[in-house]
Amino acid sequence: MRYLTKLIESLSIWLIRLAGFLLALMVGLICIATLLDTFGIGISIPGTSQLTGWLGAASAALALGYTQLIKGHLRTNVVTGRLPRIVQRTVDALSCLVFMFFFGFIAGEITFRAYSLMINGSPAEGRGLVLYPFIFLMGLGYAGLALIFLIELWKTLIPERSEADELG
């Protein structure tokens, strides 16, 4: 399991790097399109707004796993912080399990939709825009998040040795 944990963690780091690249691409594209359309010679690149939207969506989805890895999603600690440790662990394990299935299903659904688009095409693709790779990337991002919950569940159920000693 330790190797799997390392593998998933490095996967989430690679995914956030890819997200950063997509973000830079999105900013560059918006910049060029604005310069050409508003300040330039009035040329508008068709589909730019749609493309930048999907670039942003893929970038955000790819960063989800790493954000969870460093506990970057907003949560509140008003009540649970005062509960006995064993209750906290049970609660944490339960929520990890729920989220693992939730995001796993979502990743599956999104990937299925991307696959359908790839096979059948979409109205946007009629205008020369290929959107399914971005949707595949979104599916990958959500799958990465589900995998992070898998290792969190593992860590909650089987604590590290030092932590286990502390728990008695």
Binding site: I30, T52, S59
Partner: protein, 434 residues
């Protein structure tokens, strides 16, 4: 159980998931929303609604404004704007008694309006301003609270990320929201700066002042915070004249700030890469929160709870200010126990239809509610900026910072009352936006 009751149960379970199960708020919203739709329309429809909500919400072109503005703040963070900003403000105010604390308020407010997260701004400004104020023998409660107090104003002063996200979620004009926050933000800033020499005369007795800087040098020092000047010019040009969208405005400002920092070698490639990583991390957190709110709102919409609330409020025949006060109390309590952004995003889909029905302006309501939810930032347990500044100072306890924050609490409440009683303070500038 009818559908409205299902909606009430959904809200109760959401509360349990967030507070008892300590679930991340965005994910709890998604899971409870899915469960609710499942109960009302079956599993196939529920999965369909959730997947479509995720794909549609996150790929909206308007959503690209979020990473763009976060990138802007992140680049400013890595380029060391915090230090330059404080040094510049010091040169203008350092020769006055209490001037360093006033400079800390001024620079913290300006910096946190650009920086995407309050605690990050508090950490950066604390690192820049606290050692200098320690050297000048400022009392620790004043030096720490002036940084923490200043960073609170970042939620109201444009380009505030909270206002941007609220605007995107509730489909309001971002330009009007930014302009709506400008006047109250500037009034608060002036009050926070002026309260220091007025309210701390006795405590400032031992503190030192800096020698007065020549006027030319002071004017030249404004080049130190050229990023903020660029952002303000681009924002005003883009939004006021209505030529650019909010994403284009943010991108223009971000690209100019990046180019300028690369040109002056204040931003290395490594720092740029780090700012990109931070941006995607923060943006993914915000976008997932918006996705969660969308799923939960669709569930609430299916239950008919918001409409039932509107009907109930209309039939109650109580004064509208009383309903507004009730909503304020809910948001105040919400701001005490959770992050104000999450609290506002959960509350807006429920309360905005009521407010619109009562005839209030959504821009005014948004600014008032952001300020109400920010009251939690003055409290010792919930004020994350205070805790961060205390940690950065290494010598101050959170209670000492809290003691200092009392100084800024009175002007904050006075300003909140003023803008509630006189909405024109907020609505004057937005009326000029095309």
């Amino acid at each position: 159980m009818n559908s409205v009751e299902t909606g009430v149960w959904g809200l109760t379970i959401l509360g349990l998931a967030v507070f008892l199960f300590r679930m991340p708020i965005s994910m709890a919203l998604g899971v409870v929303g899915l469960g609710g739709i499942w109960c009302l329309s079956g599993p196939a429809k529920a999965m369909d609604v959730v997947t479509i909500s995720i794909l549609d919400t996150s790929s909206l072109n308007r959503m690209t404004a979020i990473p763009v503005f976060v990138l802007l703040g992140s680049v400013c963070f890595y380029s060391g704007l915090n230090k330059r900003f404080f040094d510049s403000a010091q040169k203008w105010l350092g020769h006055i008694r209490g001037g360093a604390a006033m400079a800390a308020v001024l620079s913290s407010a300006g910096y946190s309006s650009i920086c995407s997260t309050g605690p990050a701004a508090a950490a950066a400004m604390g690192a820049a301003a606290l050692p200098e104020m320690k050297q000048l023998k400022y009392p620790i409660f004043l030096s720490t609270s002036s940084v923490a107090g200043g960073t609170i104003l970042g939620a109201i002063l444009p380009p505030s990320l909270i206002l941007l996200v609220i605007g995107l979620q509730s489909d309001q004009s971002i330009g009007r929201l930014f302009m709506g926050g400008l006047v109250p933000g500037l009034i608060l800033l002036a009050m926070f700066v002026l309260i220091i020499p007025i309210g701390c005369q006795d405590q400032l007795g031992w503190s030192q002042v800096k020698p007065k800087v020549d006027r030319i040098d002071r004017i030249l020092t404004m080049a130190n915070w050229i990023e903020l000047e660029i952002i303000l010019i681009v924002l005003i040009m883009g939004l006021w004249f209505g030529r650019l969208t909010i994403t284009e405005t943010g991108t223009g400002a971000a690209v100019l700030v990046i180019l300028l920092n690369v040109l002056f070698r204040t931003l290395s490639w490594k720092q740029f890469a780090c700012s990109l990583m931070d941006t995607v991390r923060i943006s993914s957190m915000i976008i997932l929160l918006l996705v969660g709110v969308t799923i939960f709102s669709r569930f609430l919409g299916m239950t008919g709870l918001p409409q039932a609330l509107v009907r109930l409020v209309t039939e109650l025949r109580v004064p509208s200010w009383l309903i507004l006060a009730d909503i304020g109390i809910v948001l105040l309590l919400g701001g005490l126990v959770m992050d104000e952004l999450a609290c506002l995003l959960i509350a807006f889909p429920i309360f905005l239809p009521i407010i619109t029905r009562l005839g209030y302006d959504p821009v005014w309501f948004s600014i008032v509610m952001v300020m109400v939810s920010k009251i939690g930032a003055f409290m010792p347990r919930s004020g994350s900026n205070m805790l961060v500044v205390a940690a950065v100072s290494r010598t101050a306890s959170p209670l000492e910072v809290f003691h200092g924050m009392k100084l800024f609490f009175v002007p904050f409440i006075l300003c909140l009352i003023a803008i509630t009683v006189f909405p024109q303070v907020v609505l004057f500038l937005p009326s000029f936006i095309k």
